[in-house]
Symmetry: C2
Subunit: 126 residues, 2 copies
């Protein structure tokens, strides 16, 4: 009798929470595979879609070629990424928050983005 894997959603959320980092879909699959070797890749990919659509996890493009996922439990944070050296800087939350509020007001739009990433050149590389 084949033991059927329980819903992967919780496991994905645990994995992302534990890592507290930006993981690609492949990395997530590999991590979970260790615990549930029989789990099908499509199940994980579909679970990621589901979680993202329902707003439980976020998807970001950090310029590494593949998108990365992260838990939305962690608080909002925003990055500057240097396209030359790859360094990742954290932007002040208030600075971004103020901008967001202004955009929300002038566009009657409720912003959900909680991981803003801006690309460019850092002070060392300009």
């Amino acid at each position: 009798m084949l033991m059927r894997a329980s819903s992967v959603d919780q496991i994905i959320l645990e994995t992302l929470a534990k890592e507290n980092a930006h993981l690609t879909s492949g990395q997530i699959y590999d991590q979970i595979r260790v615990r549930l070797p029989a789990l099908n890749p499509s199940t994980v990919y579909r679970a990621l879609e589901r979680l993202a659509k329902s707003g439980k996890i976020s998807i970001s493009d950090m310029g590494t070629g593949s998108e990365v996922y992260e838990s939305l439990e962690n608080e909002a944070h925003h990055h500057l990424i240097c396209q030359k050296c790859g360094r990742v800087y954290t932007i002040n939350n208030d600075e971004v928050g103020q901008f967001f509020r202004e955009v929300e007001r002038s566009n009657q739009f409720k912003i959900k983005t909680n991981h803003l990433i801006l690309f460019g050149l850092c002070s060392h590389c300009q």
Copy 2:
């Protein structure tokens, strides 16, 4: 004798300029394929990487599942995308520009992002 395709870079740039839109790597490959049926997919994918790295094209995540490429000839523009209905709104350039300048100043960082995308809920869907 096999006719070798000339550099695809120019063709990609032409394609993106003509379309003046956001195309996925697959769409770009399909478009070019019509003109150069013998062209290898890896050549296109590598050309896209090359063009992006050298700053001739940009890559954006519009929440459709695959990243989209566009020409950097077109001027900067920024979007709000509703996660519920999918509508795409354009944000005022000045509003964003002002924020960018502030971030640049306080972080000594030169922002290159020319296509900011914020996700959330539009006025109809909140």
